[in-house]
């Protein structure tokens, strides 16, 4: 190796640029991962809260139709309050038999889109993740069938 070449190799101007170019994609990817993870985590928490709210309100009536309606309304309200779109959520409410002391099951599934986050598709190729949560409650034992 000639002395000129050796001198050029030792020249450190531009080193920072090369390092930045190497580190930048990694940083962008990490930022995208943090954003996507945060959004998915938040949606997961809210899906759980919505499922519990749904089960709680479903358990407050002895009428199956009213119970399902109350549960869906409670889930949608919880999701809207958390800044999420209830239109992306699916709510299932069921009980083997709707009556005093019977168990009601509420499930909320929320589709979380991360396709608008740059490079998030590298981490989540589908561009969305489904977050589901299930909650159970016993239907009130002391409830009258009379409804206002």
């Amino acid at each position: 190796m000639g002395p000129l070449m050796r001198k050029r190799l030792r020249n450190r101007s531009g080193q920072a640029l090369v390092e930045l170019l190497l580190a930048f994609p990694l940083l962008v990817l990490m930022a995208a991962a943090v954003m996507a993870f945060g959004r998915i985590f938040h949606a997961g928490l809210q899906a759980e809260a919505a499922a519990h709210g749904a089960a709680r309100f479903a358990a407050e009536t002895l009428s199956a139709g009213r119970g399902v309606w109350q549960a869906q309304a409670a889930a949608q309200l919880a999701l809207r309050a958390a800044g999420l779109d209830p239109g992306r959520a699916r709510v299932w409410v069921q009980a083997a038999r709707w009556g005093r002391g019977e168990r009601v099951r509420a499930q909320v599934c929320l589709r979380v889109s991360v396709s608008d986050i740059p490079f998030a598709r590298w981490i989540v190729p589908a561009g969305f993740v489904d977050q589901c949560a299930t909650a159970y409650r016993e239907i009130q034992r002391w409830k009258s069938q009379w409804e206002p």
Partner: protein, 143 residues
């Protein structure tokens, strides 16, 4: 040209820094993930404790209430209902004895769960408290 006295070789310094910072960032990401997992588990346990308290609150003894006005739980049934509700809503959760708080009149249940840490934390015990108003009213239609 010879190096002046005291000069330090700087080659490879950046690599050491990058590796160090990557390690620190990895640790930070791990801690955030771990914290999130624990928070989620605790929140799930708290909701399970609420469901357990709600289930236990259905087992008020109506005869004692009618005779003395005191709210007393039918213990075995209340306890069983609380355990079932907690275990369904947070698998692995267990609840201590359900009782009626004499100050608030509410049924209180304390539930416990465990979560295994991914970092050097080992197994962590979580606790949550659930409360519900005692429920009584019509046992049969027309009552």
């Amino acid at each position: 040209m010879e190096k002046p006295m005291g000069a330090v070789r700087e080659q490879g310094q950046i690599l050491v820094w990058v590796l160090l910072m990557l390690g620190v960032m990895g640790l930070l990401v791990g801690m955030i993930y771990e914290g999130g997992r624990m928070f989620r588990a605790w929140r799930r346990l708290r909701m399970a404790a609420d469901a357990a308290a709600f289930a236990a609150a259905q087992w008020v003894d109506p005869d004692t209430f009618q005779a003395s006005g005191r709210v007393v739980l039918r213990w075995p049934q209340a306890q069983r209902a609380a355990q079932e509700a907690a275990a369904l809503n947070a698998p692995g959760a267990a609840c201590a004895t359900a009782y009626v708080n004499p100050l608030t009149g509410k049924v209180v249940v304390r539930c416990y769960g465990r979560i295994r840490g991914l970092l050097l934390l080992g197994e962590i015990r979580l606790a949550a408290r659930g409360e519900a108003r005692p429920a009584f009213g019509a046992r049969n239609e027309g009552e």
